[in-house]
């Protein structure tokens, strides 16, 4: 951490564009806003809405696994009128496909990267807006168009896509999926990618060019590091899945055969080629999603432990190390495709090496918590919960990285449990921590602490039962994506386990209603938020809640790092934190 009296680093040329005019009060001007704060909220609402949709789908999936072939209570006849309220095998396949697609591309991505990325990056680095505000607006509306396309796909003949969120060929080519739903899925993922790349261009340019004077790279809040590094991965690897979508689209529409195996009559493509292109993107995608969460948690743990982040520089270099390594590990998703053992072994070793920077990061979190004067407010609870679930999720990844163990565990519920502990549990906990933490700055009101804690405990306990239970039944041999596992003699004894996992899942689902209640009640009736309710030093908390359209009247000059908590200079002033731009006499 930079010493408070160090001279300000010459980070970037001072950026003092004249404050933009206030937003036009017209309805159109508000909807098509170029203000990063408004766009961030738009992304947040879009993501939360689809989080609810994906969550309802998860409940339906759990119903089928616990009560196979029985009509869904309450909403069954409405959702599945043709089958008398029963989830048919085709509907079930479509459900888990769209659950995964929506959660990853249309819920977590908009909430964390679109929502908090947009809202936080300019405020935390001390600038008035993104480098390209109109591109930013276009990014949101491209995402909205992709979302509309995906939603429309539910209503076409043969229904929405049903080839899994990975859309492996040939399940996803015209042979496996003749309906228009899969084509619309392909288009939606492509435009989702276009939106993400637009965002990445903006975030990278903004962080490189628009940091406030004195905001050197090693004074950036770790949240900003998370979004910056994620954007680099987005710019590099989202185009790879976009290319896969282009070829899949051509295969489906123009009859090309990139992902259909050749015959003796004509040379053709290779279904495995799709998997290479998908995972070349897909593994960086895991880190694309988790890096913002890591950044946010690294900051929040320090803020609420009332201590500087332990090993700030080590954390930053660990994040960079993960970014570099994440580019060269994707083959571990394909151990069972018959790849050369030598290649498989390289992927195994590289995957295991990635646990080194990850462990450093984890140790730094523990170091931050160690002997801190923790304030267990709601955002902190969610962060500590993340540390726990990410620990289990990360450790189970080592089993899957091992080729021999993976031959058995591949495509079982062990994989489902593992990635849900990270992609669902850890990301959800980070998203909720971020909502509780920045809600006062976004909307000018505090969320209820009591309801926040009532939201946290059932969520945390239930998700560990759900995903921990999935690890166990996967270990016992239950494959994923089966319509009715109890139909198989060797899996029938796992039905009671599935019943209990489903019950925990319903608790998890119901607990989110507390969040919805808290969110909307606080939005309307919450206690007005002071400028700095959490007593921390990053730049957004120097502004009123919510900040004015142009953020900063005067661009601040940064004189220290983001985690100056408990320093003697501060204590001498009767508080335990120092602002990043606070000049000491």
């Amino acid at each position: 951490v930079t010493a408070p009296d160090a001279p300000p680093h010459p980070a970037a040329p001072p950026q003092t564009p004249t404050p933009s005019p206030s937003p036009s009060p017209s309805w159109l001007g508000r909807v098509f806003s170029t203000d990063h704060k408004v766009i961030g909220k738009q992304f947040l609402f879009l993501g939360l809405a689809f989080l609810a949709v994906g969550g309802v789908m998860a409940m339906l999936i759990r119903w089928q696994l616990a009560r196979p072939g029985q009509p869904v209570p309450l909403v069954g006849r409405l959702l599945f009128p043709g089958a008398g309220g029963v989830i048919s095998p085709a509907a079930y396949t479509s459900l888990f496909t769209m659950h995964g697609t929506i959660m990853i591309f249309f819920a977590v991505t908009p909430i964390l990267i679109g929502g908090f990325g947009n809202f936080c990056v300019p405020l935390l680095i001390g600038t008035r807006d993104m480098a390209f505000p109109r591109l930013n607006m276009l990014s949101f509306w491209t995402m909205a168009a992709a979302t509309a396309t995906l939603t429309a796909s539910f209503f076409v003949p043969l229904g929405a896509a049903a080839s899994g969120w990975t859309a492996y060929a040939t399940l996803s080519t015209a042979i496996g999926a003749p309906g228009a739903g899969q084509t619309m899925w392909t288009v939606a993922i492509y435009f989702n990618g276009v939106s993400t790349v637009m965002g990445a261009i903006n975030y990278i340019t903004t962080v490189v060019r628009l940091r406030a004077p004195g905001m050197s790279w090693f004074r950036l809040p770790l949240t900003v590091w998370g979004f910056f590094l994620t954007s680099i991965l987005n710019a590099l690897f989202v185009p790879v899945i976009a290319a896969a979508m282009v070829l899949l689209f051509f295969d489906r529409i123009f009859g090309t055969q990139f992902f259909i195996a050749g015959s003796t009559i004509r040379a053709g493509g290779d279904p495995i080629l799709y998997q290479h292109m998908f995972w070349l993107f897909g593994h960086p995608e895991v880190y694309i999603l988790i890096l913002p969460a890591w950044g946010i948690v690294s900051d929040l743990l320090s803020f609420f432990a009332r201590k500087p982040a332990f090993g700030y520089r080590v954390t930053v270099w660990s994040l960079i190390g993960v970014v570099v390594l994440s580019c060269v590990v994707y083959g571990h998703h394909m151990f069972t495709t018959g790849m050369s053992p030598l290649l498989g072994e390289s992927f195994m070793v590289l995957t295991m090496i990635i646990s080194v920077p990850t462990s450093l990061l984890f140790l730094n979190w523990l170091g931050t918590l160690w002997r801190g004067a923790a304030r267990m407010r709601t955002p902190m609870l969610f962060c500590v919960g993340l540390v726990f679930t990410f620990g289990i999720g990360g450790l189970t990844g080592l089993y899957l990285a091992d080729i021999v163990a993976d031959q058995y565990l591949h495509d079982t519920y062990f994989v489902v449990g593992h990635f849900h502990l990270i992609m669902a549990a850890a990301l959800l906990l980070a998203s909720f921590a971020a909502v509780y933490f920045w809600f006062p700055k976004m909307f000018g009101r505090m969320m209820s602490e009591g309801l926040g804690k009532l939201h946290f405990w059932p969520t945390f306990l239930a998700l560990n039962v759900v995903f921990g239970g999935q690890l166990l039944i996967g270990w016992a041999g239950m494959q994923r994506r089966l319509y009715d596992p109890s139909a198989y003699e060797f899996l029938a004894h796992l039905l009671p386990w599935n019943v209990w996992i489903s019950r925990a899942a319903y608790v998890l689902g119901a607990a989110q209603l507390v969040f919805v209640l808290n969110f909307f009640v606080s939005l309307r009736w919450g206690k007005p938020a002071p400028a700095n309710p959490w007593e921390v030093g990053t730049l957004e908390w120097t502004l009123p809640s919510p900040p004015p359209h142009h953020n900063f009247d005067v661009i601040p000059t940064v004189v220290r790092g983001p985690h100056e908590l408990g320093s003697p200079d501060a204590l001498a002033r009767g508080k335990d934190w120092l602002g990043q731009d606070e000049v000491l006499p």
Binding site: I204, L210, A235, L247, T256, A267, M277
Partner: protein, 179 residues
């Protein structure tokens, strides 16, 4: 607009364009990777029974695109009429490409007829869409109502982008049509 602000905007644009072109490069690299895999797995290349590819037509179309790229470079020193020339040449390139696809379909080299037809159609059609994007950008900066202050900056960025699509075309031509 102060000189500092305008130079800051130029640098912002340069950084943004660099990231954008990096993303586009990954897109085409992934498509070429797919081509390499298809080609490596074929028994022979071009696959037996593939009609001869009309290289000359593809090459002459390519010359149009290269000329469009040079015209846009010239616009930076010699006025916006060269940008209009570039726009015309680029549009002609797209028309000629469409003609080439028609000819390929008629000659059993279109999409769905064989691996070479698939690869050329997918890569050239997707490339054409990117050229179209560049032409839209040129048309936008030529609008009479467009800000005259911003024009040199936008022209620089459009030139970078057009140079990129020219380079991609050269790579596609060499990799698919010649090799």
């Amino acid at each position: 607009v102060s000189p500092e602000a305008s130079s800051a905007q130029r640098l912002n644009g340069a950084v943004g364009m660099a990231v954008f072109l990096g993303a586009c490069a990954m897109l085409f690299a992934a498509l070429l990777f797919a081509y390499a895999v298809v080609r490596a797995q074929a028994v022979a290349w071009p696959p037996p029974g593939t009609p001869p590819f009309p290289r000359a037509a593809a090459a002459s179309n390519g010359l149009l695109l290269i000329a469009a790229g040079f015209a846009l470079r010239r616009a930076r020193g010699h006025g916006p009429k060269w940008a209009a020339v570039s726009l015309g040449l680029g549009a002609l390139f797209l028309l000629m490409q469409a003609g080439l696809w028609g000819r390929l379909v008629a000659g059993h080299l279109g999409p769905g007829t064989g691996a070479l037809g698939d690869v050329f159609f997918a890569l050239s059609a997707f490339h054409a869409l990117h050229v179209l994007g560049g032409l839209v950008a040129i048309a936008l900066l030529l609008r009479p109502r467009a800000s005259a202050d911003a024009r040199p900056r936008r022209l620089r960025l459009a030139t970078l982008y057009m140079d990129f699509v020219v380079a991609v075309w050269l790579i596609i031509y060499v990799a698919v049509c010649v090799a």
